[in-house]
């Protein structure tokens, strides 16, 4: 049973089988690990695993945290927080995750050199070309193996 105490001191009783919720959470965790083993499309698995995580979060929030039995105040308090929480990722996404252009950083040159991403612009990728920058990035002693 979930006991909700009101400001007036009244107890409201709600019947919840917490053991079943725990079992459901364990099954969800097992499903997540199984997704790690099976060979499916990478994006599909990412969606499935995150869907399982959302389902687990629902179980915890609705039953363990008793949000299912709370009044409308939960929306007033949690919705603005949830919306504001998206601010930083949304602000970063255009420049870091979604841009059409290619940033000129040592990691990109290495990725292009190793064929992880195509070198569409034909940028110079020889080790010597990126060497000094690589040193700068690592904070190493520039020129320690350039002679």
């Amino acid at each position: 049973m979930a006991y909700q105490e009101t400001a007036e001191g009244h107890h409201e009783h709600h019947h919840v089988n917490y053991w079943l919720i725990f079992i459901a959470l364990c099954i969800c965790t097992a499903i997540s690990v199984v997704f790690d083993v099976v060979q499916l499309d990478r994006r599909l698995i990412a969606v499935l695993v995150l869907a399982v995580a959302v389902a687990k979060a629902q179980f915890v929030m609705r039953y363990f945290m008793h949000l299912k039995f709370e009044g409308a105040w939960k929306y007033v308090l949690l919705l603005p927080t949830a919306i504001l929480a998206c601010g930083l990722p949304l602000a970063l996404a255009p420049d870091i995750g979604l841009h059409y252009y290619r940033t000129d950083v040592p990691q990109y040159r290495t990725a292009m050199r190793e064929g992880i991403i195509p070198n569409e612009g034909g940028a110079p990728l020889e080790p010597e070309a990126g060497h000094a920058d690589d040193h700068n990035h690592a904070g190493g002693d520039e020129g320690s193996h350039q002679e």
Partner: protein
């Protein structure tokens, strides 16, 4: 007027609201960086991510969350003995969680998967081998010869150790110079005493110093060959393997890591430690909250019901964060494990 919940509970929910924004900033940033960094490390053999450890920790946290609701329910039913036992199990689960997390962190530390410590391409990996070899050599010399480990002092020690054949003669000269000063106190005398101690140590540890000289020559040659771009990463790795197999200085070179470049490894390590580290801090705070209740022992009473409920809300939030960290850090990147390269 007011919300139909106790003030303490409202306070906890407001706090959890800020916590949601706090962790969403980390998790959201991680997702954006993951998609914005082609070649992000995903091979669990490279990142030393243990899915089993993460899975067990998920189970431990879920079970602890279940025990918290059991404790809260028992408190409401005034079964304080049952509540105490359930809180004790929760506390133990938190310990287990941190133990497993420590084991995972140990794996990261031992493989030097730390922010700012990871080579991201072959050139950086080669440089890192040279730098770590030189550091290992310097550390050994510093152990053999007294005096501070400043770069200037290390340089003096290196020059002296390379002249190990003439050490006894140098020692005699310095000792004589000290005698000739008639014991007058001066900076010069302090300097001579330092030199005397240095030469004395070189004479006393002659066999060890000769081994160090051999290592110094090998490391110098390694540095010179790397500087002249004569070595590939594989050749550098072979050179390091040879040095680590030489029984004269194997134990001192054991700490040098073999070259394993990890593209975006530093960003990955930063995000990993940021997210899991702050989560672990929250686990510790939760343990403190539970420890305060547990310290009441048999005196646990109804007046602690709100405390247990609010601590429980906090603990469920800690569980909630891990529910998202587990797939994002452990499962989704792990799909690419076993792929060649990085």
């Amino acid at each position: 007027m007011g919300l139909p919940i106790p003030n303490s509970k409202l306070g906890m929910w407001l706090f959890l609201g800020t916590e949601i924004m706090f962790f969403t900033a980390f998790i959201g940033t991680y997702i954006v960086l993951y998609f914005g960094s082609p070649g992000w490390p995903t091979d669990t053999h490279v990142t030393h991510i243990s899915i089993i450890a993460g899975g067990v920790n998920t189970f431990v946290l879920i079970f602890s969350s279940y025990m918290v609701v059991v404790a809260h329910e028992a408190m409401a039913l005034r079964n304080f003995d049952k509540a105490y036992k359930a809180l004790l199990v929760t506390f133990a689960c938190a310990f287990v969680f941190l133990g497993i997390k420590s084991y995972e962190y140990y794996g990261k530390f031992s493989h030097n998967i730390l922010p700012g410590q990871i080579a991201e391409n072959d050139e950086q990996a080669i440089d890192k081998v040279v730098q770590e070899s030189e550091a290992a050599s310097d550390e050994w010399l510093n152990d053999l010869v007294p005096g501070d480990g400043s770069p200037e002092r290390i340089h003096i020690k290196q020059l002296a150790a390379r002249n190990v054949a003439g050490a006894e003669s140098e020692l005699t000269q310095v000792t004589q110079q000290l005698k000739d000063m008639d014991g007058a106190s001066s900076e010069r005398q302090a300097e001579l005493q330092q030199r005397e101690a240095m030469w004395q140590a070189i004479v006393d540890n002659k066999a060890q110093i000769e081994n160090w000289v051999a290592l110094d020559a090998a490391v110098t040659k390694l540095r010179d060959d790397v500087s002249a771009n004569r070595l590939t990463m594989e050749q550098t790795d072979e050179r390091l393997t040879t040095l680590q197999a030489d029984e004269r200085f194997a134990s001192h070179m054991a700490a040098v890591h073999h070259p394993h470049p990890i593209l975006y490894g530093n960003l990955f390590a930063s995000m990993y430690f940021l997210m899991t580290g702050f989560h672990a801090v929250h686990v510790v705070v939760g343990m403190i909250l539970f420890a305060i209740v547990l310290s009441k022992g048999a005196r646990l009473s109804e007046e602690w019901t709100d405390w247990v409920e609010n601590s429980g809300l906090y603990w469920h939030f800690v569980d909630l964060v891990w529910i998202f960290l587990f797939p994002l850090i452990y499962i989704i990147p792990g799909f690419d494990r076993g792929t060649p390269g990085h």
